[in-house]
Amino acid sequence: MNNTLLIVLLWPLVSMVLSLLPAKEAAGKTAFALSLAGLLLSVYLFLGFVPANGMQQVMSYAWIPALGISFKIGMDGISLLLIMLTNVLTPMIILSSFGRKIENPKAFYALILLMQFAMLGVFVALDGFLFYIFWELALIPIYFICLLWGGKDRVRITLKFFIYTLTGSLLMLVSLIYLYLQTPDTHTFDIDAFYQLKLSGSQQAFVLWTMFFAFAVKIPIFPLHSWQPDTYVDAPTPGTMLLSGIMLKMGIYGLLRWLLPTVPAAVHEYGFLIMAFCVAGVVYASCIAIVQKDFKRLVAYASIAHVGLISAGVFTLNSEATEGAVFQMLSHGVNAVGLFFIADILMTRLKTRNLAELGGIVNNQKLFAIAFMIIMLGTVALPLTNGFVGEFLLLTGIYAYHKWMAFFAGLSVILGVVYMFRSYQAIMLGSRHLSDSDFSPLTISEKTVLVSVAALVVLMGIFPSVLLDTASPSVKALLSLINAQ
């Protein structure tokens, strides 16, 4: 039996323990090396994956047999791509924190690795209860990361974030238990049993809304987003990256894996309404991004717009948009890490992210300017960058679903350029000259992160087929499961 998936899942947990061993000064480097090893493991996993074979490396151990709970994991193409996303981004996130002042680094990096473990768990769990455990487990490290290493207003903001998402999670727990009780006699949390449930219309509606709330808060979908900008801005940069790069994908993944196939009739019934909210959020958040002065907050709102589009695509239930959604989850993760890192570089160097106070950085920071430009082009979905592939597929699919929906969602094509190019100009261009003492040259770790992100933006844009082909059969299987019922 092939245990690679289990090893990939458990590796961050092992890394967490190992990273606590060495001295404080070496904590970051140890964590980075260990997460890099985790990346290699997942590359091995990726190479062994056969897209056509559906759910793979499934393993199931009875955990609490009396309650029908088992430790059941497995992966299809969608899970695998999110595993890859998590394991590619985690080392980059760790690396991006190098050279920053971090108190108690051992705990900091241990929490990041714990977070990685929990998120991987979410992407591979095939048992409702296990899924819930991982889902909640992921909240704990990020809560502490934001609370202990966050900005000025961290206590209030983090508490709000915590309560908001916890409320969602509890509703999800209710719906999971509800589903559990509907399963045949011996009752089980097994996902396949959930898929086979024959629920009435009102039962489906109940499950849909309770579960949707949890996912919608995490993503976040308009109008449940108001925790997001404050939290993103106040969290330490690695925390923001974890939240936006990976954690919010748990919500979208949850929609795809747990919600849609379980209650397809309700999705058909309410999908339009939900999409309307998603699309409204796209336009709404894009507009708000235009008037932001703090670059990090601008990126936070831009992120709401982008994930709104992804979520809208998920509810079209057609393969173009669904594959687009999977792909865009990856692109958004990469680009968000890049943009938040840029915000961080500005903050550490110039002590401000206020667009009005910046300018002229291009004059002595060519590499920074080029990397920023490429990441920005990915964000505004220029063809041959990663953003285009996802956005094009999403909008194609949304158009097939409803043309006016695509029209409004597509406005982000224009608005995105307005706010991104405006901020690029404000930050980078102009005559202001900064000397090396104002803006010290990028360190090697900073360069590595920026160049990796920029390279991914371009490579994913030119060769998206590597990833799309991985997801394609799984998306097809998922959609046929949904549309069959």
Partner: protein, 632 residues
Amino acid sequence: MDLIISLIPLLPLAGFILIGVLNKKLPKGLVGIISNTAVLGSFIISFYLFLSFLKGADSYSTELFPWINAGGLHLGLSFMVDHLTAVMLLVITGVGFLIHVYSIGYMQHDEDYPRFMSYLNLFVFFMLLLVMGSNYVVMYAGWEGVGLCSYLLIGFWFKNTDYNNAGRKAFVMNRIGDFGFLLGMFLIYQTFSSLDYKEVFEAAKNYPKGDPTITAITLLLFVGAVGKSAQIPLYTWLPDAMAGPTPVSALIHAATMVTAGVYMVIRSNVLYMLSPFSSEVVAIIGMLTALMAATIGLKQNDIKKVLAYSTVSQLGFMFVALGAGAYTAGLFHVVTHAFFKALLFLCAGSVIHAMGGEQDIRRMGGLKKYLPVTHITFLMGVLAISGIPLFSGFFSKDEILVASWSYSPLMFVVMAFTSLLTAVYMFRLYWLTFHGDFRGTHHQQEHLHESPSVMTIPLMVLAVLSVIGGFMGMPHWMSEKLGVHHLFSEFVTPVIYAPKEFILSHTFDFSLLIGTIVVLAAVYYFTRKMYVTEKVVPEEDSETKSFQKVLANKYYVDEIYDTVIRKPLDAISEMFYKIFDINIIDGIVNGIPKATNITASVARMLQTGRLGIYLVVMVIGVICLFAFKLLL
């Protein structure tokens, strides 16, 4: 063959990467050699392909690799070269190469010379992608890519905020058009389940004329063309784009990129031919743009701005041709326009170079004796664009006028009048720049000099092309006399679905010819009298009055956009943020815990632990119970 075709775009891409990566580590000479060789290489291959078409080749296609496969969508990064593409390839790489050569002289002393050359190479790459793609998405990739290069090159001198704003404006306005293009593609995919030209056009041929879906598709695509080719209402970015270095204006904003919209419509001629309504829209927008831009051109005093409005106007001519169904005439004008407009811009660059950066024609005059080569070549360009018989612009414009006459006499009248205006503003520009007395500073006068030969040789080549380039498309009466064919339209016809013939009576042709000569002679005479003999110099901006002021201010279109779009958008965004997001949405969210708090503090009073209160509550409760029972 596959490899050779792929090399056409890949050579400039390689040039971009090489120069971009090594940048200032390369000696300047090498930068020039690499960038020029790359484009020259593409030109040689293009020419080779062109010859094979002359020998009867049909079309070539090749796929680099599969690009986006998802659901029913199968898009390859694939190229196709047919007759239409072959013409565009020659223009892009040919004129592009000359401008690259010129740029060596023009930009050599700029500290960012390598960056400039690498951007030019990148631009050529995207432009080639645009015309070589075998499906709409590859075209779109090139389409957006050239927009990016345009942005990068308009704002090339990024220290200047105005230039940066101009670049950004160009990109945003192009994006508005691109959005239409995108929606058009979605509708194409929904209708035909494909975005490949071949499949789409084959399937479209089964649709009836006037089908509403086809009309919607063509209108949406045309929105893209309107943005890229600077037509009403999305044209205002082009004059601002003159902020870029002059070779950029010549290459991107005159000869190639702005004609992408024309290319796209010709490429989709099967669709447009099925929709008379869309074609009508194309023709009318083209007509209005041609006229409006020409009137603005009359009052501009910046040498590049005059040329920019002239470009907008000439693009309008092309769309009139397309709308009238004269696709080959439209493409023909793309070619001749590329020759003479690139020439005019490069000459303007040479003038600006000599004038130490001055662009205001009110400060020029009498440059004829200082810049002899520039003067003669510029004059050739003026004669060509004005449509002096036997110069290239005459032939292509004549075809468009003929087509517009068959389309509607009113259209003909407007276009003929616009041609007249074209001649007026071009001669005005010519006299004010090269004749009369020098009106600049003494310092400028001392430094007046002809440009080096690396700049003047491209001028001469383009001047020759501007003069003789028209003969490949002689009007019917002329070719009949000479016993040759209309080479150009014959070459392109295989690409056109159901090509129309626009042959009018020879009487009409001759009267058109005579009319042209008479009118142009009059324009020559009167403008010369005004600007040379009477030495009229346009007044300073503050003195301009009434309608002239409206013209000088470009009909206040920018101001209107500002009031109608930008300010409301900002206001709405601000309202979304400050009122909705912070107060309402977050207010409600924050209200929930507050409400909980209040409820809790009220409820807490029930459990104070004081016996008295418990007793009171109990008594009230008992009374209520009794009352309840009694009442029932």
